[in-house]
Structures are given as structure tokens and as C-alpha cells.
Amino acid sequence: MTGLLDDLLGGLALGAVYALVALGFVVIFKASGVLNFAHGSLLLLGGYLTAVLHDDIGFAGALAVGVLATALLAGVIDRLLLRRGDPDPHTAHVQTIVTIGVDIVLLTDLSRRIGGDLLVLGDPWGDAVTRVGPVTVADSRLAAIAVSAGAIAVVFGLFRYTRWGLSLRAAGEDLEAAALMGVRLSRVRTLAWCLAGALAALAAVFLAAFPAPGLERTTGQIALKAFPAAILGGMASPAGALAGSLLIGLTEALVAGHQSELRLLGEGFGDVVPYAVMVLVLLVRPTGLFGTKGAARV
């Protein structure tokens, strides 16, 4: 029983962190129709900056720099590498390919810097644990849940209550109609990239924190698990991305917790879970959990 509660809390924490990454995918897709394959490298950059800076300026300062720098780089990728001037809806697929190139460049450089090291981010939770009723939970997991929930609430608040959010939702549905309302598509889009970058950098902290051993050069690949979460949510739906992330996080934790009983599925089945869940959901609902025709932008 405590094993199950353990798994559920672990899955919730994992899902919450996936949601930070998946929301980034969705925001970028809504704003630009681009699938950002450089997202994992952006995440790694945020984590790396936090890791190398925390000794000198403390964890909070290092995290702030990591988040801001990653947001800035995401904005620069959008503005300078993917397009010149106004967004062109006809070239979203080309831009998607460009993000693969950006990913390779970023990842190569960061891998060289990180090498085989395990970098600690200096987060304040360490390996401390808290007793919650019958179970013992790592503080880092509670922090992952609390901070992610806060960040997700802020993002949903931005969607609903700000001019940027309304612009993004309008442009995500109908770029031309939004343009006719005088929405500044270019600005809305760059801000979307910045927000996605910031969320990725924030996610890096919790992917590197206990019980993970630290930040590795492969940590960015975890972003690839949030990709199916975004897709099974409908790709253009923030609520869908949230639901998809929780679903995948929980399934992954439950499968990992029962690895021994699931032996016949093979060792390391937990890694395949996101994709298995995605395929199952898409078989039943081809447009995703919360999908609409908006996802047809690809």
C-alpha cells in the first residue's frame, strides 16, 4: 500500500515536471506551428547554467540566470534562426527541421562541456525526506510538485487573463483573423518561445534533483518523453498537455514500481511507457485527449 502511494507521489512529481516541458511544446506550437526539437537542449542549457553558477551566486541566483538565459536563447532562436521578420505560416515544417539542427549544435557543445560528469545544481532540498502519513517522500519531489503546480497556474493565468494569452489563443486558431485584429504576431510568437525556454530551464532543476543523481548530458533527452505527452493531449491544448503529462508520469512511475512483476515486458520498459501510452490514446482518439482541428496546423 505504501508502495503504491510512493509510486503515485513519484508519478505526480514526474508528471508535473513533464508538464513544464510539454506546455513549452504546446505554447511554441500554438504560436508558430513548429515542433521544437531543440527543447531538450534548451532544458539542458538551463540546468547546466544553474549547475555551474550556483557555487558563486547561490542556487536561487543561478536558477534565475539559467531561466532567463534559456528564455532569451529561445527567443533568439525564434527571431534569428527560424525566420526573418514576420511569421510565415507556410514554412513551419522547414522551421521544425531547423530546430533539429539547432538541437545538434547546442547538444554537441553542452555535451563537450559536461562530458561524463554528474553536475549537482545545489538545490536546497538535497536528499532530505518528509513523512506524509504512512509514506516517506523526498523533499525534492514535494518541491517539484509545488513549484510545477505554481508555474503551471501562472501559465494558465497568462493564457486566460492577459492580452498576450488571448493573442496566442487567437493566433493559434486562425493566424490571419488574429492578424486582422491587429495582433502583433511576431511579438506574441517570440514571447511564446521565451516562456517555453523558461519553463524548460525550470524543469531541468527537478530532473536533476534527488532521487536523480544530478545533471547529465543526457538529461535533455527526458524532454522527449514530454513530447508524447503534448501530442496525446492534442498538441495545441495546454489542458491536454497537462493531462497527458500526468498520465505519462503516473504510468511510468507505476510501471517502474512494478518492474519485477512486469518482467515479461522486458527490462527498462518504463522508458518506453510514454510512447506506449501515446499510441494507445491516439488509437482511441486520433486528435488527442483535448485535440481539435487546431492540431491540424502541422
Binding site: D86, D88, P89, H90, R163, L166, S167, R169, A170, E173, D174, L175, E176, A177, A178, A179, L180, M181, G182, V183, R184, T292, G294
Partner: protein, 256 residues
């Protein structure tokens, strides 16, 4: 809409405009027309004549279609609009209701209306509320359904929402692209009434239609586009009397 101040009575002037798509397809050639500040001007023409293309040229959305103004000028009052982006047109007071309504179906009626104000600089919530009240007075139906998703509205209601959304930007010139398209006759009459009301409140209207009967009954002036060129121009009443218009655009109404 407030009356335009008397010292500032802008007219839309389209002067010798050519538009090409993809640098190759010529869609408009040497198009000139004027929409005075206090008028309703109709633009008629069959499918593919170039009506929508002209509105894209005015609103700065040609680029989304790989098109461009290759010659000529578009001016609204003192503001040059050719070569500018859609924000410039909206801020100059030229706002378009696109063909096919194009409301944001996943957003609520209220959010659609809010989106109409996105092109203006941040306004006080009081002004937004005032603009919205004006829209709700014009379209009481929208007030009843303000929290519903726009996708759930009927075609006629969506057309009203599309017009209401544009009115949120406080236009001085409203560009309407085939507002009667696909609507039942009763709804077409209602739209005509609305155009009259909007005009009476001080907003000029450029009305693009294939429904020539409706357009000519509303307009002071009219132009007929044919394969990218202005074929006929004149007072609406005079055009309604010409044989060509009666035969081509008024269908059986004019056949007698």
C-alpha cells in the same frame, strides 16, 4: 461610433493598384477607387474577380498569401497603408471582417470580442466595456450567449460576432467581405440593417458582395470588378439600372 471630428475626415484612396501572388499570378490590375469618410461603397464581382484580394491589400495581409502590391498606392487619410502590416491598418482605423466570418470558434463570444481590441494600445477596461456595450446593443443575441464558445453559434450569429469583434477596434472604415454569404434571406436583411446602423453611427463601409441587390440598396457608390480590373463605377442607383449589372449580378431580379 463617435462622429469623426470635422477637421479630420479621412477617405480611403486606392490608386492604380496592381497585386500579384507568388510574383507571377496577377490578381489586380490598375485598380482605383475611393471610399469617402461618410459613405457606404459597394464592390461587386463574381467569384475570383479579386474582391478579397483588394481587401487583403488594404489590410496588409497579402503577405500571408505570398502576395504583394506590385504597383500603386493605398492611403487612408494621411496614412500610407501599402507595404504596411495589419497592425498599421487597424491602428489607422481600417478594420476588416474577413470572408467566411473566421470567428475564433474555440474562444467564447466574450473572448472573441476582447480579441477585437488587441490591435489598439492598452485601453482602460472602462473603454473596452463601453465598446462591448455598444456591440451588445447592436446585437442583443451576442449578449445572451457571451459565455458560449463561438463555434456553437449559428452562421448568422457568427457573422454578427465577426462584425462585433471588428467594431471593438473602433473602426472609422469597416471592410466587409461578403457578409451575406451562406445566410438565409431573413438574416441577410438583418445584416443589411446592421450595416445601415453602423454607417449611421459614423463609420464608413466598404461592402464587398456577390449579392448585388443587397449591396446596391445600401451603397452610395459602387464598383464592379471583373478578372482583376474595375469594369464599372458609379452611383449605386445608376449602376443598378445598367443592363450589364442587371444581367450579370442581379440575376432574375434584373432579367425582366
Amino acid at each position: 461610433m463617435p462622429e469623426a471630428p470635422p477637421d479630420d475626415l479621412p477617405a480611403l484612396r486606392v490608386e492604380h493598384v496592381d497585386v500579384t501572388y507568388g510574383r507571377a499570378v496577377s490578381a489586380l490590375r490598375d485598380v482605383s477607387l475611393t471610399v469617402p469618410h461618410d459613405s457606404v461603397v459597394a464592390l461587386l464581382g463574381a467569384n475570383g474577380a479579386g474582391k478579397t484580394t483588394l481587401l487583403r491589400a488594404l489590410s496588409g495581409t497579402l503577405r500571408l498569401y505570398r502576395g504583394a502590391i506590385s504597383a500603386g498606392r493605398v492611403r487612408y487619410g494621411g496614412t500610407v497603408l501599402d507595404g504596411r502590416d495589419p497592425v498599421a491598418a487597424v491602428q489607422a482605423g481600417v478594420v476588416q471582417v474577413p470572408e467566411g466570418r473566421r470567428v475564433f470558434t474555440g474562444l467564447t463570444v466574450d473572448e472573441n470580442l476582447r480579441s477585437g481590441g488587441l490591435g489598439l494600445s492598452r485601453r482602460g477596461s472602462a473603454q473596452v466595456a463601453e465598446a462591448r456595450d455598444r456591440v451588445f446593443t447592436l446585437f442583443p443575441r451576442l449578449a445572451e450567449r457571451r459565455r458560449q464558445a463561438a463555434g456553437l453559434l449559428s452562421g448568422g450569429e457568427q457573422q454578427m460576432l465577426a462584425i462585433g469583434r471588428a467594431l471593438m477596434a473602433a473602426p472609422r472604415l469597416l471592410l466587409l467581405d461578403e457578409p451575406s454569404l451562406g445566410l438565409a434571406p431573413l438574416m441577410v436583411d438583418r445584416i443589411a440593417e446592421v450595416v445601415r446602423e453602423i454607417h449611421a453611427q459614423g463609420t464608413a463601409v466598404l461592402l464587398v458582395e456577390q449579392n448585388a441587390g443587397m449591396a446596391l440598396s445600401l451603397a452610395d457608390h459602387a464598383h464592379v470588378l471583373e478578372t482583376g480590373e474595375v469594369r464599372l463605377s458609379g452611383p449605386a442607383a445608376a449602376l443598378a439600372g445598367t443592363d450589364a449589372v442587371r444581367r450579370l449580378y442581379l440575376g432574375e431580379e434584373g432579367a425582366a
